[in-house]
């Protein structure tokens, strides 16, 4: 019951919510998206795919277990998915300033403050979510006092360029060499490769990797509209002409599709949760997956060499594609999880089997 600083969340349709600040007191603008997962805010907030977005947590009680310390393993910090908070702002219903967990080092509010990210609580996040669900993707701004930042659509920016690495970084010393095109990669993807006896060569999104030596090619997740990544698409188109094992996740899935000649489109409000059900096409195998995307592949636009790999059991949208004859596949969901369920982790093994010719 200390003094509370309030701020407004204003949506482009004119709706106004008033909340109480628990992060940096700074006005910002972005696309308002919601995530329905019930755990994993340190992971989600550092997920580069959220770049440019004001994230609404539908789970009302946030901050309970604080934020852990960044401890490096193999050059990658534990618990986090990149080196900083990637969201533009965070909106919650009930914030726990006092946290409780053995691994916690600071409160969520302090962490937002450190990262210059605003956070608001005391907002009816269910009502807010319903508005986004009904009206579709929605721009919004957080306004402190009379500092109005104006609305801004981050999908018009090249967000990938902002979150990708600017230099080539090599991790690990495993026997299989994976070339990872970083469009905003989550660290857990790197962790998963490193766990499986690989060397990961992480390259910038627009890097011409044609002269690099590698056994398998991986296209990472990332934020925004895939069509903004022309350079990546062009490199991929070249790669597809050769017989290279390729694996893509999330944005990587969309980029692979675009490189193959298929099309993508923006979903009404995207999939952001830990409970997205997908079915492997032509089987009875279903998986609960973690997802975070606003764009999807238009299945009907797939070329004759390609087939859908997974579909979403709720809305029938595409959840992955694969080449009919070559070791190339990608998925829209996140088999690396973090945060979220780990059921589809086996896809890393499947890919490495292809790379190593073990099938």
């Amino acid at each position: 019951m200390t003094d509370e600083i309030t701020a407004k969340l204003i949506l482009e349709d004119g709706t106004v919510f008033e909340g109480i600040s628990f992060g940096r007191e700074t006005s910002v603008a972005g696309e308002v998206v919601f995530n329905t997962s019930m755990t994993g805010y340190p992971e989600s907030l550092t997920d580069p795919s959220y770049a440019g977005q004001i994230l609404v947590a539908t789970y009302p009680l946030i901050g309970n277990y604080g934020v852990p310390e960044a401890v490096l393993s193999d050059g990658v910090p534990d618990y986090f998915e990149s080196e900083r908070i990637q969201v533009t702002a965070l909106i919650v219903s009930d914030y726990s300033a006092e946290y409780s967990h053995w691994s916690a080092k600071l409160s969520l509010g302090d962490w937002l403050e450190e990262n210059h990210i605003p956070g608001l609580y005391g907002i009816d996040t269910r009502e807010l979510t319903k508005i986004i669900r009904e009206k579709g993707a929605m721009m919004g701004k957080i306004v402190f006092g009379n500092h109005d930042p104006g609305f801004h659509d981050p999908n018009l920016d090249n967000l990938v360029a902002g979150v990708s690495t600017d230099k080539v970084i090599t991790y690990g010393n495993g026997s299989t060499r994976i070339l990872l095109v970083d469009c905003g990669v989550k660290y857990n993807i790197i962790r998963h490769f490193l766990k499986r006896d690989t060397t990961v060569i992480r390259v910038p999104w627009d890097y011409d990797y044609s002269s690099e030596k590698y056994d398998g090619l991986f296209i990472s997740n990332g934020p925004g509209d895939p069509k903004m990544c022309e350079a990546t698409i062009n490199h991929l188109t070249e790669s597809l002409k050769q017989d290279i094992p390729i694996f893509g996740i999330c944005l990587g899935n969309q980029l692979l599709a675009l490189a193959s000649g298929a099309d993508t489109y923006k979903l009404k409000y995207g999939h952001r949760s830990h409970n997205q059900p997908v079915l492997q096409c032509g089987t009875n195998k279903a998986f609960v997956t973690s997802q975070n995307h606003g764009f999807a592949i238009d299945t009907n636009s797939l070329g004759s060499d390609w087939e859908p790999f997974f579909i979403n059991l709720n809305d029938g949208t595409n959840e992955g594609i694969r080449h009919k004859s070559r070791p190339v596949f990608s998925v829209q969901f996140h088999p690396e999880a973090s945060s979220g369920p780990t059921d589809s982790e086996y896809l890393f093994d499947e890919f490495l089997k292809m790379v190593r010719g073990e099938d």
Partner: protein, 1067 residues
Amino acid sequence: MKKVLVIGSGALKIGEAGEFDYSGSQALKALREEGIYTILINPNIATVQTSEGVADKIYFLPVTPFFIEKVIEKDKPEGILLSFGGQTALNCGIALFKSGVLDKYNVKVLGTPVQSIIDTEDREIFADNLRKINIKTPRSIAVISIDDALKASETLGFPIIVRAAFTLGGQGSGFCYNRDELLKLAANAFSYSSQILVEESLKGWKEVEYEVVRDCYDNCITVCNMENFDPLGIHTGESIVVAPSQTLTNREYHKLRSLSIEIVRNVGIIGECNVQYALDPDSEDYRVIEVNARLSRSSALASKATGYPLAFVAAKLALGYGLHELKNSVTKTTTAFFEPALDYIVVKIPRWDLNKFIGVSKEIGSSMKSVGEIMAIGRTFEEAIQKGLRMVGQGTHGFVGNSDIEFPDIDQALSAPTDMRIYSIASAFEAGYTVDRIHDLTKIDNWFLVKLKSIFDHMVKLKTFNHVEDIPAGLMRKFKQKGFSDFQVARFVNKTPGNLHSEMLLVREYRKSLGIVPYVKQIDTLAAEYPALTNYLYLTYNGSAHDIAPERDNKSVIVLGSGAYRIGSSVEFDWCSVNALTTARNEGYRGVMINFNPETVSTDYDMCDRLYFDELSFERTMDIIEMEEPKGVVVSTGGQIANNLVMRLHGQNVPILGTAPESIDNAENRHKFSSLLDTLDIDQPRWKELVEIEQIYDFVDEVGFPVLIRPSYVLSGAAMNVVSNRQELDFFLQLAARVSKEFPVVVSEFIQNAKEIEIDAVADRGEIIAYAISEHIEFAGVHSGDATIVFPAQKMYFETARRIKRISRDIARALNISGPFNMQFLARDNDIKVIECNLRASRSFPFVSKVLKINFIELATKIMLGIPVEKPNKSVFEMDYVGIKASQFSFSRLQKADPVLGVEMASTGEVGCIGENYYEALLKAMLSVGYRIPEKNILFSSGDARSKIELLISARMLVKRGYTLFATHGSAKFLEDNGVPVTALYWPDESGTPNTLEYLKSRKIDLVINIPKNLSKTELYNDYEIRRAAVDFNIPLITNARLASAFIYAICKLKPEDIAINSWDEY
């Protein structure tokens, strides 16, 4: 698969309650949807699942392998479902599998294979299997002797936990800190099971559970996880539980989640499974502590917490469906293969009734004592927990503001948990304890304690105001968001005890004038991601908009539910509520339910048009009524909670359906009712209201001991007692006055050796439309909820019946009753006295409705809605069968409680069975509540002369049937004097052999008949020891002479083979 047998769980007992009515009903619905012919065995006649139209064929028979085999033999089902009737059904299934019965009749077990179940039930095999896949279980040593248990304790080091294999909800389990405690506990555990486990103690670890579902394609989901507020050491059924987990990181959550899936795959579950973990509060270390390969209390809770119908889906999976082939039953468009996303928090709180028992320890621990539970939904923990604590219905107003709860030793109250521990935390804050200190004493996670502290701090803030109108709007909203009721606000501002009804109304008016009202939110399983037409609702102050708009078309009928199951109010009122809803809906009304008990069918959102899973308080009920503007409110099917709201709702001009509120008050108010009886010239036991103590003494001098003392407005006899002398009188007067200050205490003449008779009836504008007269086997003095009830009454004078009818008719007319009512009478010779009148449905409504095959609630609801009904054209004289309702006791769970019957209700459940005659019905009913036909040896220890004489004929019959009788000295002498051969045993406190206790402990006795000498509660040590030993060593015990002789007649007349295997429709 065309014909499937479903095994129910029988009577409600501690550890196996209403949740299995819910899961069984869901399973039956799932089967019938597929066009499968369903057969159900369940003697629990008060359940919804044993209602017409839920199963195709219903057997009110004991859930034992013997009777299940008989039904299989008769009906030849192709499949059987074992996992919807709790441990009782599962144990029967295992027995039938092992004995080859299922093979013999070619019955296929649907869902999880029996061998998988056996492998999870045997802890050693289970731990071995998990070890093979590198999953950790507590270090544990299985032993089959006490010596081995001692050796195991040396290996593990104290403290250790002892568990009995194959038992319900932790029976025979507990912690031991030393050798002596181990010796005691192990001996007890061996009485339940031939194998016990000695395990490392993980006290203080977090307790977390997952509900996992797997289909035949190996697709798995975890529907919900839950975290116990109380750390390990307190049985999950005794713990406050939250869903989803609150203090687990993503890594912890998903680590345990994926382990759950691994386990379930390893076991080979097809359907539902519950996995419980201990999680180290200081690392990611864990242990798997329990797996239940069946629907459980937790799965019922998870279903209600998420909206995901686990039992329904599990039944479909048992039939071979894949999860991805089923729809999410809330959204109707998305798939059932998903994991619900919650956008609220639920808190489950157990309901104990330990005050009802003499001698029972109030401490809670690793075995279950609670009799029910509630679930509260909110968008902050503070909101949910305060709602929940009010819902429990023990008279508290939330976490704070309970002026009558005091703890002499707060440290003790915090560290040795009892049913009141949560309130000791409030007292600790009051005494200046820090969160850390409370954590040290309780090991409750600081996150929960900080939230509770926030409630406390808000109370402190609230107390700084002296007038409600001084509270600023922002702050008022915050109080409501933290779960404060209008009453709490009134209490802290007014700073006075008492009922504060008008002050509370003032708070209500003030906050409404500020626009501070709760918002209706939907439970939609996907956190608003997809639109859902869900009718599953709760109210919160942590929101700014309604999810749904009320219809306000005068077509809504609100039915007030019955709240937490507790002693005195249980599944029978759920049946009544469900039937009221169904009738209203069939008549074209919108059925709106308010209830908060997750173990019920009434809180299944499929049962009504709108389900408000919320408080049944005046405040919340009014919130809902003001939004819905209903045609009216049904207050007469939810037991006493709903009934108690009548006058306050009436005060707000709420339309009450059925009998007028004034009439209800005239029946509830002892003075008004008494003068009504006087006016009508109807006799009643003499009574007086306590005003001055001296007058009471004078009154007792006039009527003589024993007398009955009780406060007004009671349901299950709370604080009601028979006292036999002045000393007891003084003691209980004091106790009663403490129970209810608002209502005066009443002292009545107690008539001994009188027959107790009940009428359940439905009237329309004062005219009785249908009625059922039943009689108790026991004489008056045994609470009607504990008594064994016969319908139609078999041993009553015609004259008595005629008088009872006339009295009931006069009262119905005088009170102009429209709806259900129940009256109780004492009859000695043909002298009839009225002892109780309730203008609402009673506990026996489902029983008489099903035996008579006339649905009293359907009739009553139609009448309440003003729909004309005809008098059913059916007479009990045409019935060529008898129904008997018997009570289920859970004394084995309540360590040290004296298992004796009195005017205070003690049973936790009941069954109702139908037989061709009195004895057959009785035998079925008694076998259904756990009695067994004794093999050889029977112990008599029969109180006063009258009961000795009563039992003499029975004893002779037993001897003639080849039974061997044993008796304590007095009874032995009496029997010998009367020529009955008997072996005398020494009393427990005597040193001689053969000693009674020794015989009981070595199970040389198959049935104990121990009749207390009088109705007072100061029983002798010896008798207590015998009764308690019988319960502890699982030997059937009868403590009432009339019931004992009826049972003995029945077992002497009938062999199990003589019992007819007839379904309900065959009578």
